[in-house]
């Protein structure tokens, strides 16, 4: 039985935003719960004004940072949960995503869906707020499929459009990755010694003016994915890299059929066993990680912004 309440409110005026957020927050404060507000800076100001002195008891976090990439978001919520043991938790969350590529929208929808599974046993309530005026239709559509409850003018109700998280993941993973462009650079990876692979990715990345810190993260992520392909996949292992609409893409394929179960690499690993640390680390370092397994093998695609 799921304990977590995960509810969405699609609003289209500041008044509607406050009508949804204020009672929700006040109820939590009155009940002595741990109350979190992850919202963009403008909404934080609106809430501060409306709550007055009570705002001091709400833990505010900037959505721009908190929602930078799904795995970091899950890690941030996990720490908040760990920091408040035995207390009922309450959060309002306004991710502030307005637009994204198809792949980004899919991964954020996957994220909202995972919340239901990953935090099912958390004694708490999350109210997610989406501004209908500024948010792209496909993001709103994702929100409708991933929240078991909706908050409307007349209060909360069960959401008929809600899909079981596994159905959402399956739908995401059915979408084939865009084909590798013909001008992609390619390198066979035939041993565990990956210095040459890092030089190959590094040279290409530098041609696209990537910052040193991002390049370092990308090299750590690429090395991890290639190491896994060599150790656990099947040959041939191939790395390809190309630029795509301001992103640098690194794609590692192997001949194996890796079909990880559960939420591979999305949840922080248990420090005592550290199983799954690698893929989780890759997802922490890389804003977009796509994993597909088909008849031709396993394909892991990493994307980073070049600017």
């Amino acid at each position: 039985m799921t304990k977590l309440i995960h509810r969405a409110r699609l609003y289209s005026s500041e008044e509607a935003f406050l009508d949804a957020a204020l009672p929700f927050l006040r109820q939590g404060l009155e009940a002595g719960e741990a109350v979190l507000a992850v919202v963009p800076a403008a909404s934080a100001e609106t809430l501060h004004r409306a709550l007055g002195a009570a705002a001091g008891k709400v833990e505010f976090r900037d959505a721009a940072h908190w929602y930078s990439q799904p795995t970091r978001t899950i890690a941030a919520y996990s720490s908040f949960i760990d920091d408040h043991p035995g207390v009922h938790l309450r959060a309002i969350a306004e991710p502030g995503w307005e637009h994204g590529t198809a792949a980004e929208v899919a991964e954020w929808t996957r994220y909202e869906s995972m919340v239901n599974q990953a935090f099912a046993d958390v004694d708490g309530a999350v109210l997610c707020l989406y501004d209908e005026r500024t948010t792209a239709a496909e993001i709103l559509d994702g929100a409708l499929r991933s929240h078991p409850e909706l908050l409307g003018e007349s209060g909360p109700r069960a959401n008929d459009a809600y899909l079981d998280p596994r159905a959402v993941y399956a739908e995401m993973d059915r979408q084939p990755l865009p084909p590798v462009p013909p001008d992609a650079r390619e390198m066979p990876v035939d041993g565990i010694d990956l210095c040459a692979l890092r030089a190959f990715v590094g040279d290409h990345a530098e041609d696209h003016g990537i910052s040193s810190a991002r390049l370092h993260d990308l090299l750590v992520a690429t090395t991890e994915v290639a190491t896994n392909a060599i150790r656990h996949g099947l040959p041939p292992v191939t790395c390809r890299t190309w630029a795509d609409e301001g992103d640098l893409v690194v794609d590692v394929t192997d001949g194996g059929h890796w079909q990880p179960q559960g939420l591979p690499g999305f949840l922080p690993p248990d420090p005592l066993v550290r199983t799954g640390f690698g893929l989780w680390g890759v997802r922490m370092l890389c804003p977009l990680v796509q994993l597909r397994t088909g008849p031709n093998g396993t394909d892991i695609r990493l994307r980073v912004r070049t600017h």
């Binding site: 890690a75 010694d193 090395t223 550290r274 690698g278």
Partner: protein, 300 residues
């Protein structure tokens, strides 16, 4: 001068003992017999095995010298009788009325260098532990004076190299700094592992490993062995990663595992990580690295 701050003009070449070159007049301060064995032992053994003349100024029994005492494979007597190894007692080399005499030391040095040349040795290796001389009355000044003479004899040489040893535990920080300044070369242990991509070297002050180059899955096994050897006895262990350009998540996970196993017995401290590496550690660090600390290379 504040503690730990070197004068701006100090300049040293740091070399492992196996990389020493003719003309090197090197400084080596040790804090354990094991550390002395690693460096001075290698200096002696490399010399004896490559047919260099080896001269040790000491009152110790030749069989108890670094490089000869631990392993039984090189026989001191054989090398002594062939003349390849010379052990000069202090009284003969550098004492006048029981007091360290820099002039006599330099004269002895010039004498043995000339003799080695006549004997047609390919190279000459000279070492002495100067700790006792520093500890004598006004010893520091005498040793400093001597070092200038030694430098004049060794530095221009095309076949001689020398290591001046001092037991760090018996000297003050100021004494160590002053003595170190008279050398251009600092010598340390040879790496335990070096394949051209990664080098792993034991360090003794602070205790730990220096990692250089790139560490990834191809080198996890050697890293695991080195990490185990240095963490198994407990106490704080420092991993100096200043010159580590790359480390993969697997190796970071191994560090976290070692740090957790050490837990109550000591900390694992990552010294001088690059900003990029620091960022990675902090990012994946939440659940993984509560035991792993970031440091600046200074022993506490």
């Amino acid at each position: 001068m504040p503690r730990g701050v070197e004068p701006m003009d100090s300049w040293f070449a740091e070399r492992s003992v196996g990389q020493m070159l003719p003309g090197d007049h090197a400084w080596f301060s040790y804090s354990s017999r094991e550390e002395q064995e690693q460096v001075v032992g290698a200096f002696l053994r490399d010399g004896l095995l490559t047919s260099d003349k080896v001269i040790y100024i000491t009152d110790a029994d030749p069989r108890d010298l670094p490089g000869l005492r631990a392993r039984g494979d090189l026989d001191a007597d054989t090398y002594l009788s062939s003349g390849q190894l010379a052990v000069l007692p202090r009284a003969e080399a550098c004492l006048t009325a029981g007091v360290f005499d820099p002039g006599r030391m330099v004269a002895s040095l010039e004498d043995v260098l000339a003799r080695a040349e006549r004997e047609r040795f390919r190279g000459v290796r000279i070492t002495a532990d100067m700790t006792w001389a520093v500890r004598q009355h006004s010893g520091q000044d005498r040793v400093l004076h001597c070092e200038a003479g030694v430098d004049a004899a060794i530095a221009p040489s095309t076949n001689a190299m020398a290591i001046c040893q001092v037991d760090r535990r018996s000297c003050t920080r100021d004494e160590l700094t002053a003595l170190k300044q008279t050398h251009e070369v600092l010598v340390g242990a040879d790496p335990d592992f070096d394949d051209g991509v990664l080098t792993i070297t034991r360090t003794y002050t602070p205790r730990g490993l220096r990692l250089k180059g790139e560490l990834d899955g191809a080198r996890h096994t050697v890293f695991a062995e080195a990490l185990h050897a240095v963490t198994v006895h407990g106490g704080d262990v420092h991993l100096n990663v200043r010159d580590l350009r790359f480390i993969d998540l697997g190796a970071l996970s191994m560090m976290a595992g070692a740090a957790m196993q050490m837990a109550a017995r000591g900390c694992l401290i990552l010294d001088d990580p690059s900003p990029d590496l620091t960022e990675v550690v902090q990012l994946v660090g939440g659940p993984m690295f509560p035991w792993l600390k970031i440091g600046n290379g200074e022993a506490p």
